[in-house]
Symmetry: C2
Subunit: 189 residues, 2 copies
């Protein structure tokens, strides 16, 4: 039954990303996962909320891995930032503006309505900020500057996803890339 | 019955902002508006979707008016930007991190699921970008620079709202203010 649990989390992640937490029903999730209905409560006795928490944490950690892709072997910080936003823009266009941040929709939905899930999103954002700060320090940034640039990068990316998905064009992501690079220039030693 | 319609829109705006579109029921809205249930369909024959569209457009236009507050009589662009983010941070803290952008949650929810409401959010963002661009031009910015700065400001604000509401602190908003000011410095003549 190992595969079933994984399929439920994967299907849940896809549905939550596209439809949000309240917009997704558990029935929809098991159907998309081609899993028997009872298996959801077998693996997630806490039901939708427990699955939601696991989806937030799992998707969040997978997204965090992207930091490595863009910055691990990149000697130039500004190129790394540009590549990051260019790739996000390409993914958005390729998926008809559906695949953006895996947890932002849910994060906004639960921020004032579900404390358990709010904390899961906060843990994910904290992990991103900590990992990004460490990653960006290798470009010679002071800890506080690296943290500030990481937060600015996440701010711009998340905000641009809202605009780009709504407007169905990537202008906001292009501007986000340009403005994050501009900030990076002021912070580099 | 004029007051009833207004109360429904106001209650709808408040509920959609906090709980999202799918997380809000029409019953909840009429109850919060202290309106008879039938009045919702009397004023909004298209039901929840029609009300949602009006709420998005009305809230969006009210939020747009904030641009005037921060930039109308402000001789210094950088002070205007700082005041904008400082005020957003203060509002978030004062409302226990509930009152941020009136349409972002809904915008993400409907981006891939409801084309009519997606267009309403796109019209709002377009109005913000156009109005902001015009407003910022008076600081001597070229049209393209004014547009870029406006989009960067909205990106940073929207993204910082996601992080700040999730993390329950205003660090992301503080960084958003600093990075938008940094970009503005590079664009000013």
């Amino acid at each position: 039954m190992t595969g079933t649990r994984e399929r439920i989390v994967t299907a849940g992640a896809e549905l939550l990303r596209r439809n949000g937490y309240t917009g997704t029903g558990v029935k929809q999730i098991v159907e998309a996962a081609k899993a028997p209905f009872g298996s959801l409560y077998h693996f997630f006795p806490g039901g939708k909320e427990q699955l939601g928490e696991e989806v937030i944490r799992t998707s969040g950690m997978m997204y965090l891995a992207l930091f490595d892709i863009f910055f691990a072997d990149e000697p130039d910080l500004l190129h790394g930032i540009e590549a990051c936003f260019a790739s996000a823009a390409e993914t958005l266009r390729a998926t008809d503006y559906a695949d953006a941040c895996p947890i932002a929709t849910v994060a906004l939905e639960v921020a004032s309505t579900n404390e358990k899930l709010r904390i899961a999103t906060a843990d994910v954002f904290t992990a991103w900020i900590d990992a990004g700060t460490e990653k960006l320090r290798k470009y010679g940034l002071e800890p506080e500057a690296a943290r500030r640039l990481t937060i600015a990068l996440v701010n711009s990316l998340e905000g641009a996803f809202v605009l780009s998905r709504s407007l169905r064009n990537t202008e906001a992501l292009d501007v986000a890339g340009i403005s994050t690079v501009a900030l990076a220039r002021t912070l580099l030693p």
